[in-house]
Symmetry: C2
Subunit: 203 residues, 2 copies
């Protein structure tokens, strides 16, 4: 795979996504309704339904929107070297979420519904694949440039995603924001141990 999921957001889509974000932070996933999103949007529920037929359809678009924003913020900095790029991605995954704790809470609720909701599951799979692809690409570039040893780039990327997922789950379930910092430190240690020259691990 090479490109992020294609989706463009019109100005009203964007406004509805921002309204969804605020409504999620305020009410949580279980108590989220189109009515509450419409209130944040400042328009009628019909105005929301004009764009999204069901709540699930709207939330699927919201998951696209979250990835879209993630991709936007890292796209501009593709020119930096592989080690710095990896660091940037890990900060996006493990440092910035601390500022959006309520969103982490809602995301875990949606994630827990993935086994029952194919639309959610597909989105999470796509997003995971795409972020994994960005990590993998940075690692492969480092190998090509000779700054990283010949590791199994896909496995290293998946391990970093596993640490990020674990830290985010722990932050929510244990109500412990420090879990993100611990995860960031663990990711750093793992990167140091497998991507330092002379290391044989992960290969």
């Amino acid at each position: 795979m090479a490109d992020p999921p294609e989706r463009s957001f019109s100005e009203s889509d964007e406004e509805i996504m921002r309204a969804t974000y605020r409504a999620l932070r305020e009410h949580g996933y279980a108590d989220l309704t189109i009515k509450r999103i419409a209130e944040e949007y400042g328009k009628s529920t019909a105005a929301v339904h004009y764009h999204y037929e069901t709540k699930d359809e709207l939330l699927a678009a919201f998951l696209d929107y979250i990835l879209d924003r993630f991709v936007e913020t890292v796209r501009g900095v593709e020119t930096i070297n592989p080690a710095e790029r990896l660091e940037l991605l890990l900060n996006k995954l493990l440092v910035e979420p601390a500022e959006h704790y309520d969103l982490l809470v809602s995301m875990l609720e949606m994630e827990s519904q993935a086994p029952y909701n194919g639309t959610f599951r597909e989105r999470f799979q796509q997003n995971d694949e795409y972020i994994g692809y960005m990590l993998e690409t940075a690692i492969e570039r480092g190998i090509k440039e000779g700054t990283f040893p010949e590791v199994d780039a896909e496995h290293v990327a998946t391990t970093l995603l596993t640490i990020a997922n674990g830290a985010r789950t722990r932050a929510v379930v244990l109500e412990d924001l420090e879990a993100l910092g611990t995860g960031r430190r663990a990711a750093e240690e793992y990167v140091d141990s497998v991507l330092s020259e002379g290391s044989e691990r992960g290969s």
Copy 2:
């Protein structure tokens, strides 16, 4: 902390817990009712309510029961050396759950409710603390015996829990049982990198 949460299960408690386990696997957390648990138990809902007033109370007991079983299966093997003990714990956390996929699904649902349910949150915090304590104790014993270097045992234990949480979340959300195997490999690599003699990491 030193001891696991105190709780003893009578024979009927045990039967209700096993019935809850089957009902959870069959119906999932959202569709779980006392009626469905009673059906699996083979008795009336009143018979269940005699032991547990509410569904949440019953599920909190169920989380205790799960930890209890986990502790039971590892308690018998305390005499083995620290490296083997660590390996055993990681297998319990990352290999065996593959045989209980439906339970992982229900557990993630309950975990996602922790921010809204103090009883659940407390249980998850206690269980996490206790399993972390077992990992930490094995690491500290290895340091004392001179087989492990002088690492920050608490941080290493928390990192291993983070990897385990991440792998379990990924297995459910991405519907990908391989996530557990990837997590097991990542945990092994991390242990090798921080606990091999000569390593300075995690210290």
